[in-house]
């Protein structure tokens, strides 16, 4: 799922600088799961902002809170549109998708991001998330025993490992495993080491070129709404 981290408080305050009435909007899906922007975090951030304001004496902010089920589908934002009648800005704790979805929906209200969307990843254990997918658009997990060379190798090479691997860890971050050693071990376990002996030619970096769109059922989503307006 999408994992994010809340931005530092002073950065958020700086971005909110000019706005008086701010609605803090949380997201009830990914951001709740990774503890970055669910209802509880919205409430905590609200308190922290008010406390910070009192401490520093600046910022004429008045805050309110609202958490939607998801920010990334237009239907969930209908109720939000009703709440922003007299609000000067929205502080969204949704991922980058959510911030933009709200911005697209509320044409005249500025939207400020409250989290840094980090990656698509999974929970290893409580409180620990690891990136797993880079959305390269050209998934070759079959070749590498189900371990992604793009996200688990810091250099994202397809004919690995490089010479920097030491004790199964990566030269760039000794706490992280070398992706290619993981791939090697797994292919060995699956008795598919021949896949590692193959030559893999250079990646197609434009498998899905940006700006990206996927269309399913032509005539329905493609014709609905503003798109990349």
């Amino acid at each position: 799922m999408i994992v994010a981290e809340q931005k530092p408080l002073d950065e958020i305050r700086r971005m909110l600088g000019p706005y008086e009435r701010v609605l803090i909007v949380g997201c009830g899906t990914c951001m709740t799961v990774c503890n970055a922007g669910g209802e509880r975090e919205v409430s905590f951030l609200h308190s922290a902002l008010r406390l910070a304001q009192a401490k520093s004496g600046d910022g004429a902010h008045a805050f309110s809170e609202y958490t939607v089920k998801r920010q990334c589908d237009p239907e969930f934002l209908d109720a939000l549109a009703e709440k922003v009648g007299d609000v000067d800005a929205v502080l969204s704790l949704g991922c980058g998708i959510g911030v933009q979805a709200i911005a697209e929906r509320l044409a005249n209200v500025p939207v400020v991001p409250g989290v840094n969307t980090s990656f698509m990843g999974m929970a290893k254990e409580l409180g620990v998330w690891d990136e797993r997918c880079a959305a390269c658009g050209d998934c070759r997990l079959e070749e590498t025993g189900g371990i992604c060379a793009i996200t688990r190798c810091t250099k994202a090479i397809l004919n690995g490992p490089c010479a920097g691997t030491k004790n199964g860890k990566c030269e760039a971050n000794k706490d992280m495993d070398c992706g290619w050693i993981l791939i090697y071990k797994r292919l060995e376990q699956l008795r598919q080491l021949d896949k590692m002996r193959r030559y893999y030619p250079a990646r197609n970096f434009r498998a899905i070129p940006r700006p990206r769109r996927i269309v399913v059922n032509k005539g329905s989503i493609a014709n609905a709404g503003e798109g990349n307006a």
Binding site: P161, C162, A172, Y184, A202, F205
Partner: protein
Amino acid sequence: MPNSLFEEKLNSNGFLVTTEVGPPKGTDIAEMVHHIDSFKDKVDAVNVTDHQSSVMRFPSLGGCLLVKERGGEPILQMTCRDRNRLALQSDLLLAYSRGITNVLSLTGDSIDVGDNKEAKPVFDLDSVQLLKMMKTIESGADMGGNPLKGAPKFCIGASVHPEADLIEPQLIKFEKKVAAGAQFFQTQGIFDLASLRRFMQYASQFRTKILAGIIVLASARMAKYMNDNVPGITVPQATIDELASAEKGKGLQKGIEIAARMIKTIKEENLCHGVHIMAVGNERVVPNILEAAQLDGGHH
């Protein structure tokens, strides 16, 4: 038909000696030129490193031009970290046009170990794909399949890590590089000749030349630092202890001694096809090592 002096030497049966020079972090190339002059005639070829350890420097291609100017035989080190396939192919066209035809293909150290940590890591290709790409443009077309107006020709090399703690993945990669056309290999630093022997037992089946990488250490502290921070280097405790046993101020002396000793053994016992001396930051002592190993002037 062989393309370069170095390639000729490769195809002969002589003991090969190469070394490397690291370009300056700036425009002042005087010291680099001085080093090139000091050993260009004593070795078979001089590598110029490409932003080694991801530190931004004067370019490798520029350094190779200087080697050529000074009358030496350059090996262009080319990493995949900083340039995409267009830039890499383009640089190779320039290199060939200036008579720089020995190329060492490397993936490149990660951005994190360098001094511009916020840079974008490119890695459009990896070292194996770079070897293949060189073969492709040699055949007169670029990677996109487009015909070239004038095709280059190279003597292609790559690197290998015989002292890796887990050897089989490195061997798999080595074979891929040989299959992709690597004519010579300069290894990562060798400290334990037994592992070199084991590696050569396996590598000698392939039609490619192996030059053992010899790192010149100046102190125990430098050895430990390299262990922790430089990718691909693992200095064993015995070597660190030997360095530590040197008198104060005589660390580099000791390092030279260790290096020369290893080179002599490799040559005498014909362990592999040659050595590649890496005196990182201490290029001035390369002549001393060559002398101590009785390699200066004797072989070509």
